[in-house]
């Protein structure tokens, strides 16, 4: 296939923030996850854990707790507000002050009619869930000391509240506290410190399980208020608890980064009476605090300070080893944070609070494979653009000529004109933007930089004409399907004729930009598109889905291409399908129309469509083998998928117009090194 010059970029200091809370919606199988910066991410557990939505954060927003009510998502935080999210427009729908000081927790009853929050001022407040809103109902008896954690009894009649040094059980109809469970303090020096009951779980049989800052998981009898069992599991805090749906298992997350499972089982076999809570398994997939935890049907989902989401399947729930039974760690967002101006070698990095524009370095040396070339010019940070306002940046784009830059938050869109000549760079904000352009889920420029496209509400796309002097609204492209879901992928053809947009309903609309109308809808596939691109010469649309399926669709002929049909008929190689991170970028080689470049977190792949497809017996990762073969032997071993794993922890792989590859790496080690020291480190022989 040949040699490539690779710009290996490691100066994108992307730093995800810690996971603070999560809530799993068993009905829709969506996991909502809140991070410390106030952003909320929605993962679709029916679709390969694909991160289908991201609600950007906001400086003043802090989320301590998340709660699903049906398909509605609520959060509460230390700013004292309850917020409901608009999952179609990816923004808070509304937020309201609870007037109880900082809110530590929010829960709903099983019926989904009421919300309860635990406040700093010692009150548990109940809210009625209305159709479009929530409304304050009443306070339960006010207690001395903050309410840290809450759990609603499945019957809805009682609420258990974790506080300082104690747990209260409230009778909801009357609002009175009916039980007071005193929680022991820790031993030794920590005796003087109050014990924080970080988490409680109220089970159907009126058993209360608590996790506290003294490292205990305790089981109480909620009727009598007596302590049944104490499990001292850590020297540090037990931060989170989660109960399985059948209440046979409880998991606890600790500051040590461990997740400890307790199961309600009989101490001896064949004895169905006298079941008790027994500590069974310990999982260690984190280095830091496990702050958020959810035990779902087949797995334990955990997250915390070390920023990555872990899905740990419970192997006893699987009959055979399969794709779903593998451990998943989700480190990087399933979308692009890097834009690449292919014509001029500029990179735009998107942070929540700023954008960075870099010019790649240069080398006119030549080398043999494996060489590192001497640098003629170092890479240069041309621009650091800080956003205005409190809202975090949700998307950004750089035109391929490097002349335009745009970003959007939930409240505004900004477009800048960039002029770079040699060493000078000037940036001009485009002042008058069309009124229709107030927010965008996705932004992209046409390849000739004459138009900008902004993904707006209800899967519509705004077409904006760009000229030197002004920026004019042209048209709104609307899907025929009437989908209300946000667009998360958008791409244009090089000839400026086509625009493809994919939304969370897995729909891909192709618009004719000359006629400014819908051209076709790509047949809807059951998995969400994770990346797509339009071929520069053939105008074929290559789509990769979250389940790793790969399609090539001819826009002109409105049908799948022969190559795509052949691929589907033969089936993708199992090794390809078993990869656990989605492809997040598709690009093409302008010099060789047979080549498609795509990448996930762990590899990049150049698909050569002129070569035979690998069947299941073929060695899929065959680069090493090919290297060892002689020139004559090689052709018989070639197949279409050329996979390079030299570069790891990839955020972006792109092919510049000068045929050199740009590889943006963000080593996980670099992320880990920026975390605070863990409370406990593994030492030798301990």
């Amino acid at each position: 296939m040949g040699e490539f010059k690779v710009h290996r970029v490691r100066f994108f200091d992307y730093m995800p923030t810690a996971i603070r809370a999560m809530a799993f919606n068993a009905h829709t199988e969506r996991l909502a996850l809140a991070r410390m910066d106030g952003s909320v991410e929605i993962f679709n557990f029916t679709d390969h854990y694909f991160q289908e939505k991201v609600i950007p954060g906001k400086d003043s927003r802090s989320i301590e707790s998340l709660c699903w009510v049906g398909g509605r998502l609520f959060s509460a935080g230390l700013n004292g507000e309850i917020a409901e999210y608009d999952l179609e427009n990816l923004r808070p729908k509304y937020s309201l002050e609870a007037y109880g000081g900082p809110i530590w927790t929010i829960i709903s009853n099983t019926q989904g009619t009421q919300l309860a929050i635990g406040c700093e001022d010692g009150t548990v407040k109940l809210f009625e869930v209305l159709e479009e809103h929530i409304q304050f109902e009443r306070n339960l008896d006010r207690q001395k000391g903050r309410i840290i954690s809450l759990s609603w009894h499945p019957s809805g009649t009682h609420i258990a509240a974790g506080m300082m040094d104690m747990i209260r059980v409230f009778d909801v109809p009357t609002g009175h506290a009916v039980q007071r469970l005193l929680v022991d303090r820790g031993f030794g020096g920590s005796k003087s410190r109050e014990t924080v009951v970080w988490s409680v779980a109220f089970l159907s049989d009126h058993t209360v399980v608590s996790g506290d800052s003294a490292g205990k998981v305790q089981v109480w009898d909620g009727h009598t208020g007596t302590l049944v069992k104490t499990h001292l599991v850590t020297k540090w805090d037990v931060l989170a608890l989660s109960v399985s749906k059948d209440e046979s298992s409880v998991v606890a997350g600790t500051s040590e980064g461990t997740v400890i499972q307790f199961q309600f089982i009989a101490p001896t076999l064949h004895q169905q009476q006298g079941k008790e809570w027994v500590r069974t398994r310990t999982f260690k997939n984190h280095t830091h605090d496990v702050r958020a935890l959810a035990e779902i049907e087949t797995a334990i989902v955990s997250g915390g300070m070390d920023t990555h989401l872990v899905v740990r399947p419970l192997l006893e729930k699987f009959d055979e080893k399969s794709h779903a039974s593998g451990l998943r760690k989700i480190h990087f967002p399933h979308r692009n944070l890097v834009s690449c101006a292919k014509k001029v070698g500029l990179l735009l990095f998107q942070f929540p609070g700023q954008l960075e524009l870099w010019r790649l370095g240069d080398s006119d040396g030549h080398g043999k494979p494996g060489d590192r070339l001497p640098l003629e010019r170092m890479p240069e940070k041309l621009l650091l653009l800080k956003r205005k306002g409190e809202d975090h940046i949700c998307c950004s784009a750089l035109s391929s000529c490097g002349g335009w830059l745009a970003y959007s938050t939930v409240s505004c869109v900004r477009i800048y004109r960039l002029q770079t000549d040699n060493n000078n760079i000037s940036i001009t904000k485009v002042s008058k933007l069309p009124k229709a352009l107030h927010s965008a889920h996705q932004l992209c420029f046409s390849s000739d930089s004459s138009k900008m496209f902004a993904a707006s509400s209800q899967s519509s796309v705004l077409v904006i004409a760009l000229t030197q002097s002004e920026c004019k609204y042209v048209h709104t492209l609307k899907p025929k399907s009437g989908s209300r879901q946000p667009i998360h992928l958008m791409t244009t053809s090089v000839d400026g004729k086509w625009l493809a947009a994919a939304n969370s309903d897995c729909e891909i609309h192709v618009y004719n930009l000359q006629k400014l109308k819908l051209h076709c809808i790509v047949p809807v596939y059951g998995s969400c598109p994770s990346a797509m691109g339009i071929h520069p010469t053939t105008n074929n649309l290559t789509v990769v889905h979250a389940d790793q399926q790969l399609f090539e669709y001819s826009i002109v002929e409105k049908q799948y291409t022969d190559w795509s049909r052949k691929l589907q008929k033969q089936g993708l190689h199992n090794v390809w399908l078993d990869r656990d991170t989605p492809v997040t970028h598709v690009t093409f080689n302008s010099k060789n129309p047979n080549q498609v470049v795509l990448h996930d977190m762990h590899m990049f792949c150049i698909i050569d469509q002129s070569l035979p497809l690998p069947d299941q017996k073929t060695q899929f990762y065959n680069q090493m083998t090919l290297r060892s073969l002689s020139e004559q032997e090689r052709p018989s071993h070639l197949h279409a998928f050329k996979i390079c794993k030299t570069f790891q922890d990839l955020l972006c792989v792109s092919l510049l117009d000068d045929q050199s590859l740009v590889v943006v790496e963000r080593p996980l080690l670099a992320i880990t090194s920026q975390l605070p020291a863990p409370v406990r480190q593994k030492k030798f022989a301990t």
Binding site: E3, V6, G361, L626
Partner: protein, 594 residues
């Protein structure tokens, strides 16, 4: 097929004090082929029985007198003749013990050589070209001697041929680059002068050899460019031809000389077809010039087919005079070569008569220059041999001449790392003798094969880092260690303890460039010394403190090592950890996909 037999050494050669002289002036036949008269460069004449390799007699002139021409044997009178101080001719017999008491006569002109051959009377050739029969000269020693040669003409070589009642004295001269051959016929006396054709390079011949065959005198001469020419002069001569005649020549051999020209080499005609050559590179070995080769001039092939009376080649080299017997059958494809330990540049080959040129006899700085030139040549294969020879030569010379010692040159030779103890056994001892500790250290450092006895000899003289690092075998070293006396042992042990403590204290501050023995080497030596001298040390009162120190030291070491053993496995784990490649923030790399 011809063969050269294994060489044997006739005698050792003693270096002369006068640096410009070679150890041997000449080797002449005695009455039969088994006797040789060897004249050294200074004062003595020795008679050897060749097959027994032993001297039968030796005569020396007084101190202050110098033998200036090789002694010859007068086959008719069974007497020996030699010339001292150019003008004094001495004649003696076997039974004479003292040369001073022998007959002597002083002549009026400087003698170049006395030539003698079986069946002929000895003749005396004077430096200015005149020739006299010995008898007639001795009968009137004060007779005037005429000058034959012009003023600047000097004799380079001469020989004497007796055959069929004809007697010739041949000698060549050189004057301003022009070479001439003089053929002096005796009875009747005629002198013919021939001018040798000049070689393109202008160089003069390196060596001559003459023989009488088929009533013709054959002169064979070798030029520095490797060309061997033959000229033929009719033995009968053309009486009455006056003046200088040009001497036609024919090329007999063109020897490959490698790069550059030959410095010194010698060619001898063995018979019509065979020439023995020494000092010319072997055509197939190409390593050095120390080969004695026999060439067939008819076929230009290297071989041997030799028929000579003596059947022996005498080759003086280094500090030995070697005799190489040869034998042959007539077989055209034989090929002979003998590697002999000739020092480069100082070779003379003679069958009947060897006339060594001045050897490597220059002063120290000249030797130094030569060594430098040699070392800087840089042809590794070539160096390997020549360095060894040169070193041996220098050592031999230094041993012979107490005033001669070239530390810098020797150090340079050692530093080429082509030397080892076995190649030049005298070198280390020589440096010890001269208390040249730098050279000692260098040898200890670079020689892999120093015998234990020498190591111990070094120890007795000085204690170093370097001695400890020489390879040894316990079994061989132990007996020699026992030779050390108690005080030496105690001192050495103290030194070892000091070194060990020093290294264990600042293990990280060792100068990286400094060669230092490893801990193990130090401990091994301590053990060996204690083994060798334990009983003595236990009895010696002044060793008590040292021994108890060593004991407590060993205790602490044992403890330390047991502690180290505990963490060994965890340290090993560190080794297993993958070293992550240092990757900077940005690089441009080249990859290849297949």
């Amino acid at each position: 097929m011809a063969a050269l037999y294994e060489e044997f050494t006739l005698c050792g050669l003693v270096q002369t004090q006068n640096a410009s002289d070679s150890p041997i002036q000449g080797i002449e036949r005695d009455g039969d082929s088994d006797h040789a008269v060897v004249t050294d460069s200074t004062r003595s004449v020795t008679l050897y029985k060749v097959s027994d390799q032993k001297p039968l007699g030796s005569w020396t002139v007084k101190q202050g007198q110098l033998l200036t021409c090789p002694a010859v044997f007068n086959f008719q009178t069974k007497e020996y003749v030699v010339v001292s101080d150019n003008k004094v001719i001495r004649v003696w017999k076997d039974e004479d013990l003292n040369l001073d008491k022998a007959f002597k006569a002083t002549v009026t002109a400087d003698v170049w050589r006395v030539h003698s051959a079986p069946g002929g009377e000895p003749v005396v050739l004077f430096q200015r070209g005149a020739v006299r029969f010995l008898d007639s000269l001795l009968s009137a020693p004060q007779q005037p001697i005429e000058d034959v040669l012009s003023e600047e003409e000097v004799i380079r070589w001469s020989t004497n041929i007796v055959a069929e009642e004809q007697h010739f004295v041949l000698f060549t001269t050189e004057q301003k680059g022009e070479c001439c051959l003089y053929v002096q016929r005796l009875n009747p006396n005629t002198l013919q002068k021939y001018r040798l054709e000049r070689e393109d390079s202008g160089a003069s011949p390196l060596s001559f050899s003459a023989s009488l065959r088929d009533k013709h005198l054959n002169l064979l001469y070798l030029y520095p460019n490797g060309c061997v020419y033959q000229s033929v002069v009719a033995a009968r001569g053309y009486v009455g031809l006056e003046g200088v005649q040009a001497l036609p020549r024919s090329l007999r051999l063109r020897l490959a000389v490698g790069e550059g020209e030959l410095g010194a080499a010698s060619a001898v005609a063995l018979d019509e077809a065979h020439v023995a050559v020494v000092g010319v590179p072997h055509p197939s070995a190409r390593t050095g010039k120390d080969f004695l080769c026999i060439w067939n001039t008819n076929f230009q092939t290297l071989q041997a087919g030799i028929l000579r009376n003596w059947r022996k080649l005498f080759v003086p080299h280094g500090k030995a005079l070697s005799v190489i017997p040869y034998d042959c059958q007539n077989h055209p494809s034989g090929r002979i070569s003998i590697k002999c330990n000739c020092s480069q540049g100082n070779v003379k080959l003679g069958v009947n008569c060897v006339q060594p040129q001045p050897h490597q006899t220059g002063p120290v700085d000249e030797v130094q220059r030569e060594v430098e030139a040699l070392v800087s040549r840089g042809d590794a294969q070539d160096l390997q041999l020549s360095v060894g020879q040169l070193a041996c030569h220098l050592v031999a010379r230094s041993q012979a001449e107490t005033a001669f010692y070239t530390p810098v040159a020797l150090a340079q030779l050692v530093q080429t790392q082509f030397l080892c103890h076995s190649v030049c056994p005298g070198l280390l001892l020589l440096s010890l003798e001269h208390k040249d500790y730098f050279l000692c250290q260098l040898c200890l450092q670079l020689f892999p094969d120093i015998p234990e006895v020498v190591t111990c000899a070094c120890l007795k003289t000085f204690i170093s880092n370097e001695v400890l690092q020489t390879p040894y075998s316990d079994n061989f070293l132990l007996p020699h260690l026992k030779d050390l006396d108690t005080q030496q042992v105690i001192l050495f042990l103290q030194y070892l303890q000091f070194v060990y403590l020093k290294y264990s204290q600042d293990v990280y501050t060792q100068t990286p460039g400094l060669r230092s023995p490893t801990m193990t080497q130090i401990i091994d030596w301590v053990c060996l010394l204690l083994d060798a001298h334990f009983t003595v040390l236990v009895m010696a009162p002044d060793a008590k403190g040292l021994l108890s120190n060593l004991q407590s030291f060993v205790k602490s070491q044992v403890k330390l090592f047991s502690e180290l053993g505990k963490i060994e496995s965890s340290l090993q784990e560190l080794h297993k950890m993958k070293l992550s490649k240092d990757i900077s923030q940005y690089s441009i790399e080249v990859i290849e996909l297949f």
